[in-house]
Amino acid sequence: MEAFNWGLIAPILVIQGILIIVAMIDLIRTDYTNGPKWLWVLIIIFVSTLGPILYFVLGRRQR
């Protein structure tokens, strides 16, 4: 089996990282979310990929 090429996987990890960071920054800066803030922190960090998306779709309150 050939060596696993991390260079190919890296972009995926980077994108996931950016999503998490952006979601976290947004979460810190907003005052209100749907549901408790600490819950969103857990979801964003621990539910990989889907967590930040869920936050953007459901967690942000429409102003």
Binding site: F4, L8, I12, R60
Partner: protein
Amino acid sequence: MTLFKKELLENWRNKKWIWVPLVIILLSIMDPITSYYLPQIIDSVGGLPEGSTLEMPEFAPPEVIMMSLSQLSSLGVLVLVLMSMGTIAGERKSGVTELILVKPVAYRNYITAKWVSLLMLVWISLFLGLLTSWYYINLLFGDLSFVELLQITFFYGLWLTLVVSLSIFYNALIKTPGLVAFLTILTIMVMSLINQVFNHVLEWFPNNLSSYILDMLMTDQLSTDLIATACVTMILSIALVVASIYTFRVKD
């Protein structure tokens, strides 16, 4: 024009310009990479039983990009629908719409500003997603020309345009964002059902776009079917927007 700028700013503020492209990129590169690493993945989860041999299919580049497209057709469409469900419905609920429409703003401009700004977001995301997918395909599987990439983006973008128009239409009709998303997805599912049942009659149904795209990649030429389907899709999208302007005017 000011409304359009306001929309762009708003989409930037609620980070749509960041996360939608990223998610689309993620969705479109997931499949090429996993299918490339399929043998290793099978190995790492325990491998095949002794003695059994599984011929790994060799994927041709067009097949791989079709995988990306099918990924976008399911999860991508879901994300787009969820992303756009609140554009008008949410604003109406919170009263922003009244604030805007108090000023001398035509309903037509309000709706089209929403529509165009969403479409810009969708098309740019789609292009970025398919561009990365194309990069990976050229790296891992084989050649796919850039012109083909542009053609795929264009024709597939029309399908997503229809999805966005559908979502805008329901947005103008209904005030609850969740219901908008539900109805949009329901409509898309019903459309694909209709397409399966009446496939022999409705040759130019929008749902056939992807299969015609595959044909185009395989045979290397633009079929009249593809162009006709593209036209039908465009006309449907525009009709939906016109209809939503009309219903919006009646409802408000």
